[in-house]
């Protein structure tokens, strides 16, 4: 089979959730892929399915949710076909995750040093003899005073420190892929800058690929090589970061970029009219069509496929097939 | 305003949409739980019997007829007769009305008293809270039946005093619940928001804090209805409750004590009635608690 990325290739991933209101079609056939050591950004707004995508890849979807379809090729294995035991060996060792709320991801009753040690021993990256030493070394990597921090309980750590401990734990096993699910949204801007810098330096040094899930276009611009824009359970546009900012094609991406306020560029903020659809009863066809200025009949019937319209730039939009892509520049406006 | 004439084009359904949605959801949760349904059916039967039963009694529940004393259950006397020849079936049915009265009055009095005192303690905190809570501690320091007995014995056994005694024993539960809720609610931004609009303390307390404290109290009330019946029956059994010849289940069980071995039906049928109602309220109460649990709602 032809693989699009040499580390990860997710194909047509579908996830549903059963609720009393009906079926929530959370992921509607998501496609994304990654190369080794790549930094992929996944951006989208609340409810677009960016976190669910990561959870589904890790097979962490729990009742009432269910993965109904799809393949998750990680190197040469389809993660969705592995046994639970084999999957356990992948989680935390080959793919690690960090989350938005670092404090609630740490166990409150154990000291942070102990928790890192456990992770190391579990993954056989240390022996009981040298574990203590390794813990101190790792805490040193994430820029903390190891002798002090390893004896602290999670509640004694600030948000930024806790996130550093989480990063230490996640990277201690030298995973091939680190999934960072909004790692800085709960932190102050100065601390956010520290954490992003740390993540950037460490993963560069260690050669991990990073999947950065975020809603912040600023973080995407500063951190990621390539971006997947998600809307209502679909990847609608995939492109290298610079290409995406310079030449956004999907009307949603354009709208998103215009809505972001920026220092030094005051003036009109343009909002996207309408609201995010209810995923119990999503629109037929392209899920963005009710909010799209350019929508025509075809958009209302069948979901547009994700097609490569120029080198490495993929868009799921019929306009590109009909009468050329809706370039933001054509309309005489700046893309953002 | 020029639009004043075009307004109110809203239909009944549109106006009441939230209520209707809410109701639908409640029914959805309700039907999912079999045990709640069982409890609900038991209580409906109990209510029907209490309301309608006394209209169709085969015998006068108080009239004594020594010709038929201590008869076992038969065609004429479904549940048999007691030592005075009174029809036990009629007495159990009549007793249900008494039970209903006790439940209703005690719940109303103790629920109202407890909730009011509780939200005041919770909302104001400080010294008021300390005083009220120490009082409830005093009440809670005694087993509830013992306390109810003490009150009933002190005030003299009759219907009114039974109600008062059981209410006095019960209100602390609701007070503590309402207090805990009020303490939670008063920290919520929407309370701060209404303060910023300029609402006074009374308005905040009764229009904004109170509605949020009611649902746990209602659940607790339903759950405790079984206990109220038990306490009332306990008082009746000890002779400190409603006085004979008025049929009251606890007193009826007590009446049959001396005949337990040979004339089992005298105590057993009123006992079953107590079990029936207590079980019904407990199942229903559990169900309502689950239904009102915000984690299950949306």
């Amino acid at each position: 089979m032809d693989k699009r990325g040499n580390l990860l290739d997710v194909r047509q991933l579908r996830v549903i959730f059963h609720t009393y209101r009906g079926l929530i079609k959370a992921l509607n056939g998501v496609d994304l892929w990654m190369d080794k050591q790549e930094r992929l950004g996944i951006v989208g707004e609340t409810g677009c399915g960016k976190s669910v995508t990561a959870q589904a890849m890790m097979r962490l979807i729990e009742e009432p949710g269910k993965i109904t379809e799809g393949e998750v090729w990680f190197e040469n294995r389809d993660l969705l076909k592995l046994s639970e035991d084999e999957m356990t060996k992948i989680r935390g060792r080959e793919i690690s995750m960090i989350f938005q709320e670092p404090k609630s991801s740490l166990n409150p009753v154990f000291k942070s040093g102990f928790q890192i040690k456990e992770t190391l021993l579990n993954a056989k990256k240390a022996t009981p003899a040298n574990a203590e030493e390794e813990v101190e070394k790792i805490l040193g990597y994430v820029g903390m005073d190891a002798s002090r921090v390893k004896n602290m309980y999670p509640h004694e750590l600030s948000g930024g420190m806790a996130q550093r401990v989480m990063i230490a734990m996640a990277l201690a096993t030298q995973p091939k892929l680190l999934i960072a699910d909004e790692p800085t949204s709960a932190l102050d801007v100065t601390i956010q800058a520290q954490i992003l810098e740390l993540l950037s330096d460490l993963t560069q040094k260690m050669g991990n690929a990073v999947m950065m899930i975020t809603h912040d276009m600023g973080i995407v611009a500063e951190f990621c090589d390539r971006v997947v824009v998600m809307y209502a359970g679909n990847a609608v546009e995939v492109a290298p970061t610079k290409e995406l900012f310079q030449n956004p094609i999907h009307p949603y991406t354009q709208g998103l970029l215009r809505a972001v306020p920026r220092v030094g560029r005051p003036g009109e903020l343009k909002a996207i009219p309408g609201t995010v659809p209810d995923l119990v009863d999503p629109p037929e066809g392209c899920r963005f069509h009710p909010r799209c200025d350019y929508a025509f009949d075809q958009c209302k019937n069948v979901l547009p496929p994700l097609l490569e319209i120029s080198a490495h730039h993929y868009v799921s939009c019929y306009l590109c097939q009909k009468d050329g892509c809706p370039s933001a520049k054509k309309a005489g406006e700046e893309p953002w | 305003m020029t639009v004043a004439n075009e307004k109110t084009a809203l239909g009944f359904f549109e106006k009441n949409k939230p209520y209707i949605d809410d109701l639908k959801h409640t029914v959805f949760l309700f039907r999912k739980s079999k045990l709640t349904m069982v409890g609900f059916v038991l209580i409906v039967i109990f209510l029907l019997v209490a309301f309608l039963g006394p209209l169709f009694l085969p015998y006068d529940p108080i009239a004594q007829n020594f010709a038929v004393r201590l008869q076992p259950p038969s065609q004429e006397h479904l549940f048999g007769t007691d030592q005075f020849g009174r029809d036990i079936f009629s007495r159990v049915i009549q007793g249900s009305r008494m039970a209903l009265w006790i439940i209703f009055l005690v719940s109303a009095i103790s629920g109202l008293l407890g909730t009011t005192v509780g939200i005041i303690a919770g909302y104001f905190g400080g010294l008021i809270d300390d005083i009220i809570m120490r009082i409830t501690d005093m009440f809670l320091a005694f087993p509830s039946l013992v306390l109810a007995m003490a009150f009933a014995a002190m005030m003299g056994p009759n219907f009114t005093n039974t109600i008062i005694a059981i209410s006095l024993v019960n209100w602390t539960t609701y007070a503590r619940l309402a207090r805990a809720e009020a303490m939670k609610v008063k920290e919520q931004p929407y309370i701060e928001a209404i303060r910023s609009v300029g609402a006074g303390t009374g308005r905040i307390l009764f229009l904004h804090v109170l509605p949020m404290c009611i649902s746990p109290v209602i659940v607790q009330l339903t759950l405790r209805m079984g206990t109220i019946i038990l306490t009332a029956a306990g008082l009746g059994f000890l002779g400190l409750g409603v006085q004979p010849p008025t049929p009251e289940w606890g007193a009826m069980v007590s009446d049959g004590r001396n005949f337990l071995v040979d004339q089992w039906w005298i105590s057993t049928f009123p006992g079953f009635a107590i079990v029936f109602v207590v079980l019904g309220f407990n199942l229903l109460g559990d169900g309502i608690r689950d239904m009102l649990d915000p984690r299950l709602r949306r």
Binding site: T46, A193, P266, K270 | K15, S196, G198, M212
Partner: protein, 322 residues
């Protein structure tokens, strides 16, 4: 210069924290000696990170919590010393919109009750019809529809709830509104709509906003005056243009620098502030910012910098402004 709508003089709010029965009270200076002038019909942004006291400042101004010391005068009257009754008209003139759209509306009240309650309090004897008319008017103004008044808050999205919260504020025809991070819980596309609505409403109703936020990019887009707070103190204030062009306090500069910019072509030397934000319970001596300041000298550690004017309307609290 125009007469300011609100003048804040030496405002302090200290909290006494008690760890347990045996320990002494610890004083947390959440707002410490704040002096600001808020021009009429301006959008005055208060920027700071967690623990800076920006939210406490907003609440103290609103008299939702009692101040420790200081003066807040509005229309030349010190509102902090007014008793409950005398303050009531000011209560109407000053409103607040909270950060959390999910908990700032009473979950058991219809939207019309939420918005109409203030009217019943402040306009005695107002008829039900008049209330309806006013609610409809403000609902339309904040971009909602008439039939929304018969719904419960949980049926709305975050952005719509913030609109309802704002409608509750403007229905009382206030002059001054504290916006406490009104968009920080919202998605960017929704945020853009809400900000736009806020701007239009300000122009239409001649409102003055105190806009509390941690996001400098919104400030640039939205505000025209700005105060930067750090650990309870205002470290820099002035017009937005002045501060964005000539940030004088090292903290302001670093804050601007930390903000991720959505432009992958921008090459900038990113300066990351070292260290954690200190606990406001035990703030550093001298200038609170000195342990994290790249330009700190010995003096910064020992001496508290004075709050002084470095150019017209531009105040700063720093020994060595950049």
């Amino acid at each position: 210069m125009v007469e300011p709508l609100m003048t804040i003089t030496n405002l302090k709010k200290h909290f006494a924290l008690k760890k347990n029965v045996f320990s002494k009270n610890v004083i947390v200076k959440a707002v410490d000696d704040v002096n600001l002038e808020i021009p009429r019909e301006s959008i005055f942004a208060v920027v700071g990170e967690s623990g800076s006291g920006k939210t406490t400042l907003g609440r103290t101004l609103m008299k939702l919590i009692p101040p420790t010391a200081g003066m807040v005068s509005m229309d030349g009257k010190d509102i902090l010393t007014l008793d409950k009754k005398a303050f009531l008209p000011y209560r109407r003139k000053m409103q607040i919109v909270f950060q959390d759209p999910y908990n700032s509306l009473h979950p058991r009240k219809l939207v019309k009750t939420v918005i109409g309650e203030g009217l019943k309090i402040h306009f005695k004897g107002i008829s039900e019809m008049e209330i309806r008319d006013k609610i409809r008017e403000v609902l339309l103004q904040v971009g909602l529809r008439e039939e929304h008044m018969f719904r419960y808050p949980h049926e709305f999205s975050g952005g719509q709830r913030q609109r309802i919260a704002f409608a509750r504020a403007i229905v009382l025809e206030p002059e001054f509104i504290v916006l406490d991070e009104p968009t920080s819980a919202l998605d960017v596309s929704v945020q853009a709509m809400v900000l736009k609505m806020l701007q239009e409403a300000r122009a239409q109703n001649a409102l003055t906003y105190l806009f509390i936020t941690h996001n400098l990019s919104i400030v640039d887009y939205f505000a025209n005056h700005l105060a930067v707070m750090y650990l309870g103190r205002v470290v820099e204030t002035g017009s937005k243009a002045e501060i964005f062009d000539h940030p004088a306090h090292p903290y302001t500069r670093l804050l601007m620098n930390s903000n991720p910019i959505p432009d992958p072509f921008l090459k900038r030397e990113k300066q990351v502030v070292r260290g954690e934000i200190p606990s406001p319970i035990h703030p550093p001596s001298g200038c609170h910012f000195h342990p994290r300041c790249p330009f700190a000298k010995a003096e910064c550690k020992e001496q508290e910098p004075q709050y002084r004017e470095i150019s017209s309307g531009h105040f700063i609290r720093c020994h060595f402004p950049v």
